[in-house]
Each structure stands twice: as C-alpha cells, then as structure tokens.
C-alpha cells in the first residue's frame, strides 16, 4: 500500500510537470566579452550554457548574464534535436533578466507560454527546471523557500533587489531557468553565494513583472532608487530630538544623493510610509509577510513614477510625492554592458575609469593602482562631490613608438589635465588634444601631478602608424 501511494504521488507530480518542461529551453551561448584595458579588443570566444522558458508574447525569458556579450545564441527545445538561432530582444542588467526572440516559426510549435505566478510563501516547496552542468538532459531540483530579502544582484554588482533564497541546488547552467510552483513561474534561478551551502537564489515575480512592464514602451530603463541613506531610530534621545512618538516606527534619512530627491526630502525627515508599506524603526517594511529593507518598496515603481511617502518632519506628518529615477552616476562602479569607450592618440590609450577596467589588472587590483584612483571611483561622490569628475579618465596603456618612448609613465594612471584643460570626461581628452596649438602637448596625471610632454607634429604623424601597428580599426569609440 505504501509503495502505491508513493507511485500515485509521483504520478500526480510528474503529469503537470511534463507540460511545464516542454516550455523550458536549453540555451547555448558563444560570447566574447570586451577587454577593458585594451578597449578595442575582445577576449577569446567563450561558450556557456543556460536555461530559459517561453512566456507570453513569443519571448523566451532568461538571465541577462546568460546572454551578456553573446555573439551567437542557440536554443534547443525538449526532444527536438534542432538548434534555433535567437537574438536578444530586451535586457535588464540590473535585474539580471533578458528576453530572447526566435525568427524560425517552427520553434514555437507545440510550446505553451508559462504563466508568471505570485511570490511563494516561505517554507513552501518549489521546483527548479533547467539544464545545469553535469549532464545534457533537463534537470529538476526541489527545494524549500528559505527566505525573501533584498540581495545584491551580482550581474551588475552595485544594486540590490528582492530575491528568494531556496535550498534547491542552483548550479551553472540553471541560470535563467524557471522556478515552478503550482505550474506557474514563481521565480527565475539566477545566482548562488560562495560560502553558502545548499543555498540558491531566484528572481521573484515582482521583479519579473517590473521588467516586463518596463519594456512595454520598447525600451528598458531599470529599477529606480530614491538615492537616500537612512538610519534606525532606536535611540531614545534621537527620537526625542525628532519629536517622534512611540518606539517602533520610522527610519531617519541620513543622507540624500540625487538632486531630484533633495527637492522633496531633507536629512532628518523620518520615513513613516513608503507607498503602501509602513516603515519600522529599523528601516524595514513587511512585504507579503517578509521583513525587507524599505528600499524594496521604491523598486516597485517605474522610472519617473512618483512614490507616495508619509514622512515625519518637524513634529508632524507630511505627505510627499517623490519622483524616482534610475540612478546612473555610479554606473562605473558596477559591471557595464556597453562596449568600453576609448581614445588613442600618440600611442596613449585613454579609457574611462571603471570597476570593469580595474578588475582587468588582476585579483589584487586594489594594490595595482593608487588609492586615489579607488577613492575617485568609489568614494569621491560622497566625500567630496564638488571635486568628483563626471567620468574619470585613465591612461590605460602607452603603445610603444619612438614618439612616446621617453615617457616615464607606462599607464594605469588617472589623467588630470591635458594642455591645461581639466579632464572631466573622455570627450575632454579629444578636445584638449585637438584644440592645442603649441609645439608640445602636456599631459598631467593625478594625484602626484606627474607631467609628460609629447611633440604635437610628430604625434599627429605617428598616430595612423601606431593604429595600424597595433591593429586598431578606429582611434576612438565614444
């Protein structure tokens, strides 16, 4: 009798799963990421695998990181030996989601789109479908929803969104695969965390829906932020100073970054409610029974939308409609998915300072460059906003040529001025060289004020030769 029940249960489980798995797609990608230190070049072609699934509108959803820098994307359906060529229709680097399209009509034959469900309850069971490493066929892993929290999304590296932790194994190749509960997609498997065992993370339905709504105008914007830092309000003296009644509500605004938020909020305002969510004194809200950071509430809105806030200011409640936007001024501190900008002149390779550039210097990149460069990238915005450059420019390399052979600098330095012009962004480099009428160009570097001279006429003459010598098709990408 016992054996029979097990069999029936198994049958009951497998039957609907068979419908789901037909819509789960195996993805093979041949990709070629750029070289950030040699910005006109690309790395060797790499191959990796991921998973996707069909959704409404004849689109295949997967992770952004599955299709980053793809040169070719091949899809395979369950039981169909043919590979189908796909292309990226939309990509959201911050939420690590992408939508693919296939031109070949045969791809869609017999496939039913999967429906997006709701955020699964903690302790409930979910099943991850995918094509992980370790075999060729579709694989299922069952797990429990462990917790729901704001987590860093590693594809971009500098943004956190809601994520669900599960103890179902999520391995390389699972990325982009659906997490299923009651035949509906309740998540997209996307990342693990080194050091954590039996823990995988998936992207919850609210993030998936935000992405799908965002692209309704055929353009992806991203997840907006209020750009505030806040503190808890545990300390009785602090609450007294803020004239804040009770002891369990409100998070104090400690700093505000974007001007658009400064117009509506000020430091020492206390957030009582963000959207529909009351804010606790530790800066959390309760989202469908889960305690999460209040920042999550803002990410429910679209770029440019207004978030209704209730704040406590000067001893009374005030209602504020805060417009929120996708913040971009810290883009260089996260992974970027547009080709690196650069300019080559006289053998000098100029490219914007970014985290992507620094990691090319090796694992101990923090020791490979001056502390000033790290401060410029990560801290200047907060510490000395008036001194921050829009786009700090690095001299990444000096391509050897008689015109520059006497240079003491060999690269890895931040450019301060060229011909007396302060370099705030890459375009300034071009302007500074092109507008100079002196016999020499002078290039000054930060922070030590090192200077190099370059004969202008010789450099102008040498430039085409250097580009040819080093196989650089264009002297710039802007």
């Amino acid at each position: 009798m016992k054996a029979l029940i097990c069999f029936l249960l198994a049958f009951a489980f497998v039957a609907p799963a068979a419908e789901v798995e037909r819509s789960v797609i195996q993805i093979t990608v041949f990709a070629q990421p750029p070289r950030w230190d040699v910005p006109w070049q690309f790395n060797n072609v790499q191959r990796w695998n991921g998973t996707g699934f069909l959704i409404k509108g004849r689109k295949i959803m997967t992770n952004a990181h599955v299709v980053n820098w793809a040169r070719q994307i091949l899809l395979k359906r369950l039981g169909d030996p043919r590979p189908y060529l796909a292309k990226v229709a939309f990509v959201g680097p911050d939420c690590d989601l992408a939508l693919l399209e296939v031109e070949d009509e045969r791809f869609y034959e017999g496939l039913e789109p999967l429906e997006i469900g709701d955020l699964p309850e903690v302790r409930s069971t979910v099943v991850t479908y995918g094509y992980p490493a370790g075999g060729e066929q579709i694989s299922y892993t069952r797990g429990v929803v462990s917790r729901v929290e704001l987590q860093p999304y590693v594809n971009i590296g500098n943004r956190s969104l809601l994520a669900v932790q599960t103890d179902a194994a999520i391995n390389p190749g699972n990325s982009g695969g659906p997490v299923i509960q009651d035949d509906k997609v309740v998540g997209v498997a996307f990342q693990g965390q080194p050091g954590l065992e039996n823990a995988g993370f998936f992207i919850p339905p609210n993030v998936i829906r935000h992405f799908l709504k965002d692209i309704e105008d055929d353009q992806y914007h991203g997840f907006p932020q209020a750009g505030i830092k806040f503190t808890d309000t545990f300390n009785p003296a602090l609450r007294e100073r803020l004239k804040l009644p009770g002891d369990d509500q409100g998070a104090r605004i400690d700093a505000i970054i974007p001007d658009s938020t400064k117009e509506h909020l000020q430091v020492d305002d206390v957030l009582l409610k963000v959207g529909e969510f009351p804010v606790a004194s530790d800066g959390t809200i309760t989202y469908r029974g889960n305690i999460v950071n209040l920042g999550m509430a803002v990410t429910e809105y679209q770029h440019g939308e207004k978030v209704p806030l209730v704040i406590w200011r000067g001893g009374e409640e005030v209602k504020v409609e805060l417009p929120v936007y996708v913040l971009t001024d810290d883009a260089a501190t996260g992974s970027q998915y547009t080709l690196p900008r650069y300019f080559v002149y006289g053998g000098m390779v100029f490219t914007p300072l970014s985290r992507d550039y620094l990691v090319t210097l090796g694992r101990s990149w923090m020791e490979s460059v001056s502390q000033d460069i790290i401060a410029e990238l990560y801290y200047r915005r907060d510490m000395e906003p008036e001194k921050k450059r829009t786009e700090p420019v690095m001299l990444a390399d000096v391509l050897t040529h008689p015109v520059n052979v006497n240079f003491e600098v060999k690269g890895r330095l931040m450019v301060d001025k060229i011909n007396g012009i302060r370099i705030d962004k890459l375009e300034d480099v071009i302007r500074a060289f092109e507008s100079n009428r002196n016999a020499q160009h002078t290039i000054e570097f930060s922070p030590m004020n090192h200077v190099e001279g370059l004969d202008r006429a010789q450099a102008d003459q040498a430039n085409p030769e250097i580009l040819k010598q080093f196989g650089i098709a264009s002297d710039r990408r802007l």
Binding site: T231, N235, R241, E367, D372, M383, M448, H450, G453
Partner: protein
Amino acid sequence: MKPLNLMLCALLLAPVTLLPAASGDLARWERSLVTLEVNSQGYNYIQPWTRRSQSTQKSGVVIGPRSILTTAEQLNDLLLARVQKGGRGRWYPAQLEWIDYHANLALLTSDDEEFWQGLRPASLMTKIPLSGDARVLRWREGKIEARKMEINRARIETGRQTFIDIMHLELNGEVPGVGFGEPVIDGSRIIGIMEAPAGSGGLAVPAPFIKSILDARTKGDYRGLGFFNFYWQRAENPETLKALKMEQTDHGVIVIQPLAKIGEESILKARDVILEIDGFEIGPEGDYQDPIYGRTMLEALATRGRWAGDGVPMTIWRDGRQMEIEYKLPKAEFTDEMIPDKVFDQPPEYLIAGGFVFQPLTVPYLESWGGDWQRRAPFRLAYLKQAIPTEKQEALVVLSVVLPDPYNLGYQSIRGLLVREINGRKIVRLPDIEAALKEPRDGFHIIEFARGDSPGKIVLDAGDLSAATARVLQRYGIDQDRLILGDSN
C-alpha cells in the same frame, strides 16, 4: 650511520669557523660591544586606556667616553634600560641620553662607574667600503659571535622609524635574528649599525651618516634631520623639458609637487627643474655622484651634513631661465602630519563620553588592523594617510568604537568614523570635543561625521551623558575617562 656522524661534526664545527680566536682582532671588540636590555611600555590602540610592558634585548657599542651607540628602535616609551658588558654577568642601570627616531639612532650611558671599567670606545669610519665582506658582532652566551656579511650597496629609502628618506647600507648574508643595533665592522672600525633584517640580509645605518650627526651634535649644531619636502619626476623626456621651455636635457629633475609646513610656503614651484643641489649636478634619473656612496638618489643631499633649518643651495630652471635659490630644510616632525606615522614616548590619547571612544587618527591606531592595515583598515581612514594638513584641518579625530550601554542604544555598531563637528563646533583635536560637549544644543549633543560616513549624524541626550560615562567607566573597568596631552600632539 657514518654520513650522519660526519654531518653532525660539520654542523658542530661550523660556528667555530665563524669565530676567529677572541684573542685575535675580535678581542678588542669584547671591550666595546655591550648588550642592552630594554623594558618599555606598550599600548593597545583599540583600548587606549590599557597598558602592558614589554622587554627585549639588543646590542650597543661603546663609541666614546660613557657613551653607547645603538638604534632608536625599541627604545621608545622606555621604562627601564640595563646594560651588560662581556656578554654575561651583571646588568648595570642604563640611561637614555639622546634619541633621534628619524635617524634611528640613540645614545645611552650608565651612571655606574664600575660598568665603564675595562671598556674602550670603538671608532666610526668616515669613508666606508661599498663592497666586500664585513662582520656583524653580537654577544651570544658569553662569547662574541662574528658573522660574515657581504656589503651589497648603499641606498636611499624611507627610514625604519620615519617618513623621510635616509641612507642605508644593504648587506647580504643569512644571519638569523640580526638587525638590533649590532655593529657591522671592518677590522677595527665600525662600518654601520644593523637596523633591520631585509631579504636574505639586513640593513645598517652607515657609519659616516652616524658620525656626521654625532659630530654636529657635539658641536651643538645638530637640530634634527631635515628633508626635501617635495615630489619630483625624472626629466628623461625631452619633450616635457621643451614644454617647460628648457632645451638642456642631460641633467635635472622636475618638481611635481612642492609641499610646505602649515603657514609656510615652499621656495620651489611645480614644474621647476632642479639642476644642482649643494653643488652636486643632479642626473635626469634624480641621482648624483656622492663622494662616499657613489651614485645616490638626491634625497641623500638633505641629510649630507645639513640639518633641519639649514639652507641648501639649489640651481633650478624656472620660466625659461636658470636661477639660484636656497632651500631651507624643514625639520622632520611626526606632529606635522595630518595622520602622524608614529606616536612615541606617550600613551595614546582618548576621550570617552557616554561609551563613545574618541581618539586622534594616527598610524598606530590604524595599525590596530594589523601590519597590512593599508588594505584591512577602512579605506576612508587609510586613504587619509596621504592627506596634506591645512590650517583649518591639521589633525583628525575618529570615533573609534562604542562601548555598549543603554545610553548609546542604536549606535553600538559604529566604528572608525571621522568626527567633523559636535554641537556645531569643528573638531580637529580632542580638546575641541571637550569644549563642544560643554555646549549642548537644546539639551542634545549632535555629533556629525565626515561627509559620506554612515551614519552622518547621531543625537545624544546631553543631560544623561555624565551618568552614562560614569556607568561605562565602571562597567568596563576604565580608570580615566580621558587622556589628553595638550596641543603638542
């Protein structure tokens, strides 16, 4: 069995070969070489109110009547020193007579007449060999141990106990545990004093450098070491020189960052080309031909018989013409730095209020994160090491840690934040905090941290502060709520 026995014999014989009979040329050193025992006070900058004592031994050498030379290292925060002659027997009391951390030199004496009986001063060489073999001496179990080391070169680099560049002698040779004031000798005279192990050898303070300082000291001319307070770059790129309106390309270096003490201005300007210093032509790589040390980096000219406050003649190129200037050597002083490299001969300063521990931001504090503090300490603090002090901000105070108490509920996790203002008063040193806490705002203390720190501000109840401080001191077993040594630090 046999090969093993032979090997044992070889090992036993080895020290003997290193020890020529003490009756030979080493015998005279028995009357000059001494052992020092140093007992000093140690501190824990995480809990600046705590103290410990530490003891170590090092070598010294008698170089004059009642005068023992050694390195300055380990002699800071000295509690008690003793000295032993002959490598064994009685320890005599010793007194620190003079110490110069920047030069890494110290002189000790003993007021016990008996100690000096039988001792004979050794002499310092005025010109030293820059290659060949030398011997390093120390007492070991009642015998002089003389280990051969090879002189590699003299080189300029940042001193062991200072931020300035000074002359060092580099020696090769595997001598374990060397680098604690042992004399390096060539027959009967001192070539240098060992100051540190380095790679498969060690570094010594060269004798001519020591002698020049001691001689100046005897004459009353020594005012401490000065240094060149500017950064320079090589002038090997002729196009850079052309841009500076200078055609001459065979010598000189380009000043890129002239610095000066607060309230002073450097005579040098950025983009000056230094052609000569003190009569020595400077090469495009920044070196000159030193009569003693050979090709040497120009920094050596700041300590080559010139002391703090002395003028050093320089020939420079500025705005298309050559000119003569006199560069006044600023004195090397830790207190001139915004984040002092060293804090010697004083306990760490601190102020505890309501469980909040405030301390001056110093390198010894940052070293609480370990030897590789530059990587491990909070970046925002470590990065400030290179900050240049200004009249408005000549020092910094950090809220180092919070000792948890109901008073500071919600703030217990705060670590390592730079204090910008308290109750609207700018904070530069600890006395500013004392003053600021006397002026609460509407019954509150408002502490604001440096821009970008998180949190940027905290609010405390001014009325409860004293009681909270008393409670924290009692609970954490701290005897004093503050140690503030005045404006000198």
